[in-house]
Amino acid sequence: MRSDLLRRSAFVTSALLLGGCFHLTAGDKTREEFQPPRRIDPAAIAVPDGYRIEPIATGLTYPTSVTFDDQGTPYVIEAGYSYGEDFTEPRLLRINPDGGHTVVAKGAHPPWTGVVFHQGAFYVAEGGTEGGGRIVRITPDGTLTPIVSGLPSLGDHHTNGPAAGPDGALYFSVGTATNAGVVGPDSANAESINWLSRDAGFHDIPCRDITLRGLNFTSPDPRTPAPDDTATTGAFVPFGTATKPDQVIRGRVPCSGAVFRLAPGATSPELVAWGFRNPYGLAFSPEGQLYVTENGHDERGSRPIFGAGDYLWAVEPGRWYGFPDFVGGRAVNQEWFKPSGQEHPPQFLLAEHPAPPPQPVAFFGVHSSSNGVDFSRGGTFGHRGLAFVAQFGDQAPDTGKVMSPVGYKVVRVDVGNGVIQDFAANKDKGNGGPASHLGTGGLERPIAVRFNPDNGALYVVDFGVMTVLGKDIKPYRETGVLWRITPTGKKEGP
């Protein structure tokens, strides 16, 4: 009786201690509803003392990246696709001084995820959820020429980048087809991600030969109308295909979850590093080191993984970074990563691992969707050598529940010690979140950052409003914004 009382008291105490003033029921309702139009109010965004933020262009549809020509004129790409299965038209836009835009080029193979101006032309990463990924060259007159085609990015994640290296080469990445190596019904949701209905045979492709343990997963079969139909699926194979112990999956390039290099004039990419889940943002430090942001696993699908963060990696050529069996350098088969309601943590899919994976440079919030990255080169902006990262924000509960909103801001990272600090975030007295939830005109979903050529300003690409109601993701067209952060004189920090 007394011990029972004690146990109950201990539970309540733990809840109070942990929860403080937060609601203890995960599933915060920050991202469920939006009533257009989007408000724009830079005063709703906090930036450090000595900086200001202002909108440069509004009304964009799913913008994902910004770059600058030799004169410093900004150009933005619109993706042409958003999770929530909304297909529009991928476009390259020149942003005019009055905030309007001029269409430079239109294309295909959405979503366009990144653009860089390099040696007189624009290079765009065509994500390829339709048609496969490509790297295309677009001249200033709008002529579009594919450089690399057939990249395996028809799935959950896409072809990303590109970044121009100090060696003159282009670097880009390809994300994995799946959440955690196994194609499941989470990729057949008409309201979220639905590629399985378009490309039923697609799956993850390793970059090198791998040997499987033969784990298989039984899930509902979305290919048939009968709700009770099931399918059994292994790793690195099409949906509905089982695997056996010691089965070898042949590696090939291009592959899933990897970073590639494209030498000047080349059309075949070279593998730089592999074993990533969704390597999204690529940037070189002032010292010439390549860094990549990685979107970590979600708690969804046939192999859900709990508590996987997002990461910043220093890319070492030739290294394997852990997918599908390690998360941020840690093995997934430990209690940390056990999803709620499951008896065991995730088990290894591979019979042997290529090598121990390295450790991340920085650990971002779980589900923060830490995406675009750029390095300050100093100049009037300051903060030389720090990485700036756009955090798109969580897509809870589709990707897994959270207690409070995660992301929806721009952070800076000291790559020397992994310390992360907010740089631009919505003002509020609560738990943060997108402006549409807070009832303000601040940031919605930052997806990319880029310093202009003289490093006097940091441009922030804000994808716009995307709500999540259960498994239903709803993006809103014409709500994207290009913001600019500039120093006002007195600066905090170096």
Binding site: T13, L17, C21, A46, G307, F363, V366, M403, D422, K427
Partner: protein
């Protein structure tokens, strides 16, 4: 008697824990830069490696906010060592006692500064 004593301690802790209802410190750009001691800087680096994923910047995320509750140090150490709910227990192999102390010291520094705007 023993149980009653435990109950009293737990109730006191709960009251302390839930009394810190101010919003969590969210750092620059919401306030002045933190001025940390060397041990607090060590704690900050460890926090970023071990805690930031679930409590980004000390605020809530996957887990609850932890920079807005003036818990006694021993209560924070207990939570780190024992784990609660989905939070794993950090063994001595993962974090030494001095490292736990540094993290607690850093969290205390976060709590001594203003909250968000």
């Amino acid at each position: 008697m023993k149980a009653t004593g435990c109950l009293l301690v737990l109730t006191t802790l709960a009251a302390l824990g839930s009394s810190g209802c101010g919003p969590a410190r969210r750092g620059v750009p919401f306030g002045p830069p933190l001025h940390l001691t060397e041990r607090q800087k060590q704690g900050q680096v460890l926090f970023m490696r071990e805690c930031n994923g679930c409590h980004p910047g000390g605020a809530g995320g996957l887990g609850p906010g932890i920079a807005n509750k003036p818990l006694p140090g021993f209560a924070m150490r207990t939570q780190i060592r024992k784990g609660v709910g989905a939070m794993p227990a950090f063994t001595e192999q993962m974090l030494g006692d001095a490292e736990v102390d540094a993290i607690v010291d850093y969290l205390n520094a976060l709590q001594e500064t203003p909250g968000p705007l």
